[in-house]
């Protein structure tokens, strides 16, 4: 807040000064270019802290030109918002990873009062400029990753004759294949503008098979605007081969998107597969149990603000216990009086869902709560320039499958699971052999609710944590359970993944809104044909 307002002052001042400074700069360039040159490193860095945004851009350029070993660090710090300035003592400092301030000029740690240090603000155009500058400085960095991103940046910006020559030189000595090929692509892109037809054809050939978007757009341009027909034809054939590779990867991407949407559907439906599928209770408050799980994540993050990375690991059991306990309370307090009366159960649980929503509103405020993504959940796994998989989706997919199999094991291999199945198949018989049916009911409902809570933890990483979280998923989860077949966990898995993939394949053609509608229509038609879902329960239990 404060450093922005501080900046704003400068901003207004700068606006007023621009009129004057433009006149000045014209005069300066006409007189003597040397007059501005001899500012040393320290003076330039201090100028960073005081100038306007556009002046700051010029200053940064001059700093880069000095080839001082400290410039790389300063430019990187400014770009990442780690460069601070103290307007009283005129010190400029870099905030390092541990939060300590290091003097940018003297490179010594600052031990004195740091309360006056304000972040030096940057905007998009300056940020762009900084990235290009640091790319040029980092081209010969010993760190592979830094070097690669520097080359990528140059690739993005486009080369001029100087940097092309530099890259060509560097590519000869480059030992890492990935970086070398990126360098070659950058050089080839530059050669596309060469006046010699042969060089242009060679450049097009070396771009064949490259998936970089820059290569593709440059080839597209060449294929239509190049003066030589030979070059145009080579470009067209190169483009064709690229396009076919891309469409192959796009297919893979859509499958992943579908599976990912499916995993979210699976998570939200799997708890319901137990309460609705196995027990036959229509629980309209299921979504609110997920909401409780999501709020658990937020509370845990508030309690341990310094351990965000582990917060999810802690949130999963917490959410299971809290949501499970609420579930048991709902079963004992409301649902047990309503067994065998589905309509009343529906109304009562719908009322409960409203109560829980309003409770969240009063307890946590109607505003959404910010749940942060742990470091390991953000970012994406880049397979190639066209295919990258975001980590949060990947982990949630794995998590959903894990939960599914754990639940399957509980139902198939534990004594609780045996009792649950016994009660759901024949209640009276189960009681006759000594199963405490009402106790099993409560535990089963608690298990389903607990799983809903765990799903809420996963959802908190994807969507808003607020009172309305549950409402957004309740319809989808019923859809999945009905589609998959009531009372069949495998059906829920196949149903969720199937609906996810169908949805994602429809979306590009129909748009997000129509795709949802189409899926719903298809589902209605399907239920007409097979009212018991994909995998109906067979045998005597299915009769009632």
């Amino acid at each position: 807040m404060i450093h922005i307002s501080h900046f704003f002052k400068h901003f207004i001042l700068a606006f007023m000064l621009i009129g004057i400074s433009t006149v000045n700069s014209v005069a300066q360039t006409e007189a003597e270019p040397i007059a501005t040159a001899p500012l040393d490193f320290a003076a330039l860095v201090q100028q960073l802290a005081t100038g306007s945004l556009s002046e700051r851009g010029d200053t940064v350029k001059q700093i880069a030109l000095l080839k001082d070993p400290r410039s790389t660090v300063i430019i990187a710090a400014l770009e990442q918002g780690n460069l601070y300035a103290d307007n009283i003592s005129n010190k400029v400092a870099i905030k390092d990873e541990t939060g300590n301030f290091v003097d940018a000029i003297a490179q010594s740690a600052i031990t004195s009062d740091i309360s006056n240090f304000k972040k030096i603000p940057v905007n998009n155009s300056l940020r762009n400029q900084l990235r290009s500058l640091s790319a040029q400085l980092n081209l010969s960095s010993p760190d592979e990753a830094v070097r690669l991103s520097a080359v990528k940046r140059l690739l993005n910006d486009g080369l001029d004759a100087d940097s092309a020559a530099l890259l060509e030189e560097q590519s000869k000595t480059e030992s890492v294949d990935k970086i070398k090929s990126a360098m070659d692509i950058a050089v080839a892109l530059f050669s596309l503008k060469n006046s010699d037809e042969k060089i242009r054809i060679a450049a097009v050939d070396s771009l064949r098979g490259s998936l970089e978007p820059e290569a593709r757009s440059a080839l597209t341009e060449t294929s239509t605007t190049d003066e030589s027909e030979a070059v145009r034809n080579t470009a067209i054939s190169a483009l064709k081969s690229i396009e076919s590779t891309i469409s192959y990867y796009r297919f893979g991407e859509t499958i992943f998107f579908g599976l990912s949407l499916g995993s979210v559907l699976l998570l939200s439906a799997i708890g319901l597969a137990i309460t609705f599928g196995v027990m036959g209770v229509i629980n309209m408050a299921h979504g609110e149990l997920m909401m409780i799980g999501a709020y658990c994540t937020w509370v845990i993050q508030q309690l341990f603000p310094n351990h965000i990375s582990y917060s999810l690991l802690l949130a999963v059991p917490t959410a299971f216990i809290v949501a499970g306990a609420v579930g048991v309370a709902i079963e004992r307090g409301v649902i047990r009086f309503l067994y065998g009366r589905p309509l009343e159960t529906l109304l009562a649980t719908f009322g409960l869902s409203l109560v829980l929503q309003q409770a969240a509103r009063s307890l946590f405020s109607p505003l959404n709560r910010a749940v942060s993504l742990p470091e390991w959940m953000s970012g994406s796994l880049v397979i190639n320039p066209v295919l990258s998989i975001t980590y949060n989706r990947l982990y949630i997919l794995i998590f959903a499958i894990l939960i599914f199999f754990m639940l399957l094991m509980i139902l198939k291999k534990t004594s609780l699971g045996l009792k649950v199945r016994a009660v759901s198949q024949n209640r009276t018989m189960a009681r006759a052999v000594g199963v405490r049916a009402s106790w099993v009911d409560a535990l089963t409902f608690g298990l389903g609710s607990g799983i809903a809570g765990v799903a809420g933890v996963a959802l908190s990483q994807l969507t808003n944590v607020g009172p309305n979280l549950g409402q957004a998923y309740i319809i989808d989860s019923f859809m999945v359970v009905v589609f998959g077949g009531v009372g069949n966990l495998w059906g829920t898995l196949v149903g969720a993944m199937g609906l996810g993939i169908i949805n994602k394949f429809l979306e590009p053609y129909a748009g997000a809104v129509l795709a949802k509608v189409l899926v719903l229509v298809l589902l209605i038609l399907f239920i007409q044909k097979k009212p018991k879902g994909m995998f109906p329960q067979k045998g005597r239990a299915a009769a009632d």
Binding site: S217, A218, L373
Partner: protein, 430 residues
């Protein structure tokens, strides 16, 4: 001027009367009722609750100053529960049963459209404080939020000029505001020479949370070698997963900037702003504005809401301007009578919170500056561009059928006067 002075004296008398009589019932009978029509439950509660509190704060403040025309203001708060037909019912209740002098309310365009016929039928006054799609003018409604020419068009201009953007993604939630705004923007971009193939339009349902392939499509669309920007009219909740997906798929503001019309300080306080740094928003007010009036407003708001972390946003400023203009109009008219107040309010001026003075125009819109800001790590905006005051335009100049229309409730006494046929379309084209 004289009237104002008299009003002040009357106000002082009012306080004295209140003190001496000290009888609550006598006082209660002698109040001016103000309707507050914002959803306190349901999906829109997230945004609208804040505006309800803003109106309550402004009323409390006005009462501390001695009320209005010697009477205390009394808020009548109703909860239309994000249910559009209920908005109309509650409006009828406010106007018929509670006999409020003015209503401050609505957020979504659909709620405003549902309230509109009731306010017109019962001749009430509605102050609408949210940016909207335009294409509407009513004798009884005052639009203190931005019309498209006060938000969308200047934002696109900025990107075109400063960002050198050549390719455009218009992404929005599927309802009337984004659809109309995007229609206007599409027409505007084409008028500026942008080709059809360089415009991608995408609509998603309310609360959409699975943005994977849309963001991937945007990336694909943006990799065609021309600078690309996203103009987002995505509303409310759906923004959090959208920006998260942008961050995860590494779409940075320097590659493909997103300029949003519905993301303000309040929305940003609900998410981790780090991956969003550098993305843009266009508003008429930012909390980071340096004016003295703004600082005072923020301090008052934090004290009133008893939470030092609460933020202010653009619709709050619009509510502030609307409320003060109404107070001045009532003082000028010397009565709360609808016809007299609506006549008095046009031309009145109120300092806004960004250092300028906003004026109520004959088309019931106000003048506002347009600010473009970049999102900072702390969820605040860094203003990167600001315009002088822009007059709100009810009918877009870029849409067929609406560019010939003009709204003027003073000289033309018409909300949709066709300048070509020289006719007022009247109720037909509401």
């Amino acid at each position: 001027m004289k009237l104002k002075l008299i009003a002040k004296h009357v106000g002082a008398l009012g306080i004295a009367a209140g003190l001496t009589i000290a009888s609550f019932s006598a006082q209660a009978a002698d109040t001016i009722k103000v309707g507050v029509l914002h959803s306190l439950s349901g999906t829109m509660a997230i945004s609208e609750t804040t505006l309800k509190d803003t109106v309550l704060m402004l009323i409390e403040e006005q009462n501390k100053k001695g009320g209005l025309l010697g009477k205390k203001l009394e808020p009548v708060v109703v909860d239309p529960a994000s249910n559009w037909p209920l908005f109309a019912e509650k409006t009828r209740q406010l106007l018929e049963k509670d006999k409020v002098a003015a209503i401050f309310g609505c957020w979504t365009s659909v709620s405003r459209k549902s309230v509109l016929p009731v306010v017109e039928e019962l001749n009430g006054i509605l102050f609408y404080p949210v940016q909207y799609e335009g294409e509407e003018s009513s004798k009884n409604v005052f639009y203190t939020g931005a019309a498209p020419n006060q938000q969308a068009i200047p934002a696109v201009d900025y990107l075109m000029k400063e960002g050198k953007v050549k390719r455009w993604v218009l992404a929005g939630t599927d309802y009337v505001y984004p659809r109309t705004t995007n229609k206007i923007l599409e027409a505007y971009l084409k008028a500026k020479g942008v080709k059809q193939e360089d415009i991608m339009i995408n609509y998603t349902p309310f609360g959409h949370s699975d943005w994977q392939n849309i963001v991937s499509d945007i990336k694909k669309f943006g990799s065609a070698g021309k600078k690309t920007a996203v103009v987002s009219t995505i509303n409310g909740d759906a923004n959090v997963p959208f920006y998260r997906e942008l961050g995860n798929q590494k779409v940075s503001a320097t590659d493909i900037p997103v300029v949003a019309f519905s993301v303000g300080e309040e929305e940003l306080s609900g998410l981790d702003a780090k991956p969003l740094v550098g993305h843009l928003a266009a508003w008429n007010y930012f909390m980071s504005s340096e004016s003295a009036a703004n600082k005072e407003f923020i301090a008052k708001w934090k004290a009133f809401i008893k939470d030092p972390k609460r933020v202010t946003n653009d619709p709050m400023e619009a509510t502030y301007i609307g409320f003060n203009l109404w107070v001045k109009a009532v003082q000028k008219a010397g009565t709360t009578d609808t016809d007299k107040v609506t006549a008095a309010i046009v031309g009145l001026e109120q300092p806004n919170l960004t250092g300028g003075v906003s004026k109520m125009l004959p088309n019931h819109h106000i003048t506002k500056p347009v600010l473009i800001g970049e999102i900072q790590e702390d969820g605040q905006f860094l203003t990167v561009s600001s315009t002088p005051l822009v007059a709100g335009d009810a009918w877009s100049d870029y849409l067929e059928g609406s560019k010939d229309l003009e709204s003027d409730w003073i000289s033309l006494k018409c909300g949709n006067y066709n300048t070509k046929t020289k006719k007022c379309l009247g109720a037909a084209a509401k």
